[in-house]
Amino acid sequence: MISSRIRRLWNAYAPEIVVTILLILAFVISGWREPRFLDAAYLFDRSTLYTEIGLLTLSMTLIIVAGHIDLSVTSIIAFVGAIIATLYSRYGIPFWLLIPLAPVFGGFLGAVNGYFVARRNLPSLVVTLATMALYRGMAQILLGDSSLMTPPDYTGIERVTLPHTYLHTPLVIWITLCLVFAALLHRTVFGRYITVTGVNPEAALYSGVPVAQTLIRLFTLSGAMAGVCSVLLLSRLGVARYDHARGWELDVITAVVLGGTSIFGGRGTIYGSVVAFLLITIVQTGMGVAGVKAEIQVTAIGLLLLLAVLLSRLTTGRK
């Protein structure tokens, strides 16, 4: 009875279980090799470096579950950053006013992706590959090769912690959004529509699911999340540059896939993505602390991904 329940749990959530075990292992090994690793203050301090990737992982999970991909998010970060910095330094618009506008700008850029994917039926891989170049290029047109400063009073908000805790602002935002996205994917009609669209888009259409509307909202959300990341990054780095966040989209997709989301859509959990993101972060940080070279770190992540996918597939026979 119990074994059959475990069997069923394993069949349904093998990838999540595998990454959870790997995460515990990674944590134990890192803590044993480097005691500083068990120091919460140190850990949370380091975590701010990865917040943006952690946030993008959440929205990318939804996109991939829907059977799509959004490569343009990191270019949206750079472009929105460029817009905000330009509006602030060239046109003197107050920075506090621009902060809430960042997700709006990002959402608009995401909606453009959504329009081409949903209404023009173009593959999202191609659309976002195009806008990845387009948005990055427009950021460079705005900024050139130089850096644009953002106001010093907004630099370093990521260092502000919640009273009496080690929790930095970005971490608080991330944890909150983890819960929001988990609810969104698993508890709302929108989330169910995302899943069934990923499982079988044609049947979704035949079942009266507003597929196009769902996809447009989804890509808008993805862009808006990139807008949020843009503000956090500006605050952390204090400057806007056109090449911000370049290449991160692949780290984000790696985390999502490692967490058990099917790259073909239809299956995935926020829990899996969050654990996989933490796993990658700990492996990289742990290795960094232990003085492992960057190229070895990258190699290790690649092996980790193959291992996790193999492990969960071998045992369940999932196609």
């Binding site: 508890r187 709302t188 009609v189 929108f190 989330g191 169910r192 529509y193 899943t195 069934v196 499982v199 079988n200 044609e202 049947a203 979704a204 259409l205 035949y206 079942s207 009266g208 699911v209 507003p210 239809g266 299956r267």
Partner: protein, 510 residues
Amino acid sequence: MNGINGAPLLRTTGLSKSFGAVTVLEDAGVELRAGEIHAFLGENGAGKSTLAKLIAGIYRPSAGQIERNGRPVTIHNPREATELGIALIPQEPRTFPDLSAAENIFVGRLPMRSGLVDWKSLYGRAEELLHELGVALDPRQPARSLSVADRQMLELAGALSLNAEILLLDETTASLTPGEVSRLEVILRRLSAAGKSIVFIGHRMEEIFSLCDRATILRDGKIVGERMISETSPEDLLRLMVGREIGEKVVRGSVPTGKPLLEVKGLSQPPLFHDISFSIRRGEIVGLAGLVGAGRTEIACALFGLSQPTAGTILVDGKPAEIRSPRDAMGYGMALAPEDRQKQGAFLPISLWENASLSSLPRLSRRGWLKDSVSRTLTTEWVKRLSVRCREIEQPLHELSGGNQQKVVLAKWLETQPKILLLDEPTRGIDVHAKTEVHRLICELADAGMATLLISSDLPEILALSDRILVLRSGRIVREFDRSEATPEAVIAAAGVSTGLPDKPRSMVA
């Protein structure tokens, strides 16, 4: 005229094929002789294509034996069939649109010279083959610019280039114009005179009678007769094709007479269908019969907002309905159980209850938050009512049999509480028992006031369930039958499987 040793070119004995629990062909024995054109006849799903595909190595038999020139052979794949001189020409030719006609003929075995394609010899040989077939066609032309008929010729030329002795044509004429059909007939007669054995799968009696020498008739996966064409009549063949008594008698109540719930006026979407007008009353089942490709599915899709007709109006309850999407159609109380269950109806990896509740989510949620416990309760009720055989409603749909999957798809739509039910091949590929249950359900729903449009290739099903039958042919309604006047022969004849009888003019549509 026979092959070596006087044996037929090919003989099958006891050939059977099952997919899982469903047997689609049972104990089939045929003999294919040199110089003979042999028709495989039967309704959709009778097993004629399956038999051809077994011979051509596309399927592997579950039981039985194939002999080639008197020697038992095992055909594992189409390549081995090719080596044995067997070729299948499918209805939809498998062409690569961007390659030239010649490249398509010799695809996978282009003539080479010192590691490079020998274009001169390629085009030369292609030209020869096409000339042999009597087809005027430039081998350099890209296949994209060719008609279906010409692309079929490429398949035929490819088969001849491989010295095929046995040619199986699977509903090759279904998408051809009359002119193209007669050209094909000339070619086939010439090939047969040259000693090839030809299997011709088709529906149209006039083609069978003008072309074929012999016919094997299949019904429900079994061979029910073999006839020399010279010694038979179309009526005889039709009787064999349809023959069976309608297995399970479903009793329909009195014919409903109220005002129409759904009215369709002059609906057109060229080239798929033209000027379609009909109506369905509350509690009425209207059958839509016709050959595959006559436009039945396309009409259902247009009604359900999946495509946009170019002309015509749809009235629900006497009021014009604006339908631009399935959502809109659902708003008017419509539901569509689509033709291709696996592709259009089912979400195989997710649970039963997630499938069954999907189309009712606006009702099964509050401000966008799912009420999954309500969905589960409702699904449990439907599972009981439709006697879906499953372990539990958490089971992923792919673990269920085809018939039970179909019941879940129906449950998904019945949960939306529709008034108008569009059923496209509701019992295709499901076992006899489940079929009876689905039939009973359709009648129960109609008795409770559901207006139903029933599309089916299963003639006995249409005849048993429908209060009225509309027959579609090339996108037009050509006849309407009342329950009392509909016979299998009359419906088949109207659908375009001509028996030589002239079509009566279409009766008035309410």
